[in-house]
């Protein structure tokens, strides 16, 4: 088969089209894999990952994020590259991708390659092209930096396995939180086909780890694990549904990361909601906060949300929200509480909790000490005692605490959001007022 490329198109034009087509993919991390250079080519990887630049939307640029081709046989409603769209199409050749990656990498522009693709002819054909490209990069160019590739759902398991041995991280996009939502949005994709490669990659990683324990030189399979992403705000699914899916993915599929992508209506499809107030960034932010609570703070989704309260409170973050609804636990004595309980206090994170545990071996701690350790006292002071005393006389009362936490917010001091909320006004309503707790339409009143 001949790849449909217009031969006169320059690399510049192709890169423009194919980077533009790939920008809605969220994942750009280069972490999780630690490899030294072996002296035969360029590249190594750093466990914590490196960001080499930041784009005008504040997102990091770590990898050369491109599609191999934006030609696609599928017709997913939310996707800019769907076949019914009339957009300029382009395809790279494996050599072009290799050369771009190597030259960008030498100049320290990027940390590696992120290769995704539209479906050209068939999933197998596309996956084979991706494999060929990465294989060339690894063997001919001896590239030892970070490579993230997409597993194309529906591709042959052998091809996915081959890609897994070449890449540091693989991902399959779940796209929508519910199977029904996926059917509605992407008529050509099926939940089953997405979960199958995900399971295969998970098994591959486990197997590779076991082999490495026995043989030091056994090949690595997706050393940096796998990730996925979901679109948020295109369908009326609740935060509870989204977070439950994420929790399942972490527990049952051992994913490294689940990404949430605030819906941008690129196609102006009439079936999809018009997001007039811009993409639901605050909702996305709350989901990420909850995601961190799941992964590092030992929270369960059922503690944060229930079927009666299926959405996060937009006014305060999920952790503070949990705390004000569980005031029976507080105040917590800093000098006695165990690590798990310390983590539940708003204003105390993983680092400061660890420092508290280490430091209180040498003597009891005061509020002054906590401040030095990086505890955010203006948030924590309602929930803690040091040596049996609270910092100021405060009421342990839900409304009182919420008012104080959000009062600072109105002054532009409290919670720091990574984006501006222009003309934000918090309505003076009770916390559990439904209007606060969104739905894409109500949401506009806040953002």
């Amino acid at each position: 088969m001949e790849v449909r490329i217009s031969p006169q198109m320059s690399v510049m034009d192709k890169l423009k089209i194919l980077a533009d087509a790939a920008k809605y993919d969220v994942s750009c991390s280069s972490s999780g894999s630690n490899r030294k250079n072996d002296g035969t080519g360029i590249g190594n990887t750093v466990a914590a990952g490196l960001c080499h630049s930041f784009a005008a939307d504040g997102r990091c640029i770590s990898l050369l994020k491109i599609l191999f081709t934006n030609e696609c046989i599928y017709d997913c409603r939310y996707c800019i590259n769907r076949k019914s769209n009339d957009v300029p199409r382009a395809s790279f050749t494996p050599d072009e991708v290799c050369e771009l990656t190597m030259e960008f990498y030498r100049r320290n522009y990027i940390e590696g390659l992120f290769l995704s693709s539209g479906i050209l002819y068939s999933p197998n054909y596309t996956m084979e092209l991706i494999c060929e490209t990465v294989h060339k990069l690894r063997t001919v160019h001896r590239f030892q930096g970070y490579v993230h590739v997409k597993a194309i759902p529906g591709a042959d398991p052998l091809l996915i396995q081959r890609a897994g041995y070449l890449a540091d991280r693989m991902s399959v996009n779940l796209e929508m939180a519910t199977a029904d939502g996926l059917r509605e949005m992407a008529p050509n994709k099926h939940r089953k086909n997405i979960l199958k490669p995900m399971r295969q990659i998970q098994n591959g990683i486990t197997q590779s780890k076991n082999e490495l324990a026995l043989y030091r030189h056994a090949p690595h399979f997706c050393e940096a694990g796998q990730s996925t992403q979901m679109v948020v705000g295109a369908l009326p699914e609740s935060d509870y549904q989204i977070m439950s899916v994420a929790e399942n993915l972490y527990e049952k599929f051992s994913l490294k990361r689940v990404y949430y992508s605030a819906f941008v209506n690129v196609n102006e499809d009439k079936e999809l909601p018009a997001v007039t107030g811009g993409p639901p960034l605050l909702r996305e932010h709350r989901l990420y906060q909850a995601d961190w609570l799941l992964r590092f703070y030992d929270f369960k989704v059922d503690e944060l949300l229930t079927t009666d309260r299926p959405n996060f409170n937009m006014a305060i973050d999920p952790k503070a929200d949990w705390a004000v609804r569980h005031l029976e636990v507080f105040p917590v004595e800093i000098n006695r509480a165990d690590y798990r309980l310390l983590l539940r206090i708003p204003g105390i994170g993983v680092k400061s909790a660890r420092r508290i545990i280490a430091a209180r071996r040498f003597g009891s701690l005061t509020f002054e000490d906590l401040k030095k350790m990086g505890v955010v006292l203006k948030r924590a002071l309602y929930f803690i005692t040091c040596g049996g005393r609270m910092m100021y006389p405060t009421k342990i009362d839900e409304e009182y605490i919420v008012r104080n936490l959000t009062y600072q917010n109105r002054m532009g001091r409290g919670e720091r959001l990574p984006f501006m909320l222009d003309g934000t006004t918090y309505r003076q309503t009770s916390l559990f007022d439904d209007g606060m707790i969104l739905g894409a339409q109500n949401y506009r009143s806040i953002s």
Partner: protein, 257 residues
């Protein structure tokens, strides 16, 4: 007793020699201070001494620090010594006294009750953060002979800490990193050990000529950088928070021309 100020050169060797000299005075540590660089406000009731960098004394100090305080504390002190802050001499001297004479040993950097240890800790952290930023944001340009050249202007003297990362990553490349603020070159010949050169043996600026393809790749990356941003999520404030403006001056994708 009269206060004594030891004035030393602004370098690792200078500071360590001054520390050696301070100990060699055998007058206790209370009234001795180390001053990096020339004093611009001389005190009336104090004596000033000059200490000249001496490699033998420096090696002795390094040996003692490594064996008595451990590699980690030693590394933190080195990072603090690379700082641009003039208070580093005194902070390092007092930290060494805390570690060796007061006997905090390997746990010296944990003793955050001592204000000088806190200062050393802060200076070391600031250098480490800048090293991390430079590792991320350095931009190499290809010169005509295929040599990679990067120009940086960091606050602290980060080149010695940045070089090991790139020496591993770009093992097969000839590259150099030029710190124009401190007049320092880090040079790495392919497959060989890297080394530092000071600006005295400077490479004239007009000799820097790009290779044929350099311009093209700079344009490609600038375009990629512009294209990858999602218009609906535009957030320049966040961008500046993550990538401070002082780094942007040296990065091709922010080049206004």
């Amino acid at each position: 007793m009269e206060e004594k100020y030891i004035i030393c050169e602004d370098s690792l060797e200078g500071i360590f020699t001054a520390v050696y000299d301070a100990y060699a005075l055998r007058e206790g540590h209370e009234h001795i201070h180390i001053q990096v660089g020339e004093e611009d406000n001389y005190r009336l009731f104090a004596t000033y001494m000059y200490s000249h960098p001496d490699s033998v004394k420096t090696d002795k100090v390094i040996g003692t620090l490594k064996s008595r305080l451990g590699e980690e504390v030693y590394a933190a002190i080195c990072r603090a010594a690379a700082s641009c802050d003039k208070s580093k001499g005194e902070a390092i001297y007092r930290t060494v006294v805390e570690g060796i004479t007061a006997g905090s040993g390997r746990r010296t950097m944990e003793n955050l009750r001592n204000p000088y240890v806190v200062r050393t800790f802060e200076l070391a952290r600031r250098t480490a953060n800048e090293v991390h930023h430079e590792v991320e944001f350095i931009r190499f340009q290809e010169l005509q002979q295929g040599i990679l050249y990067a120009l940086i202007g960091p606050e602290n003297n980060v080149v010695p800490f940045v070089m090991p990362h790139f020496a591993d990553r770009l093992a097969t490349e000839n590259f150099m990193i030029h710190d124009e603020k401190h007049g320092m070159y880090g040079i790495h010949p392919a497959h060989k050990e890297w080394y530092l050169v000071s600006e005295a043996e400077q490479l004239p600026k007009d000799r820097v000529q790009w290779s044929q393809k350099e311009q093209q790749y700079q344009e490609l990356f600038t375009m990629f950088h512009k294209t990858i941003a999602i218009r609906e999520r535009r957030n320049i404030r966040l961008q500046c928070q993550m990538l401070p403006l002082r780094f942007q001056d040296y990065m091709v994708e922010f080049n206004k021309n």
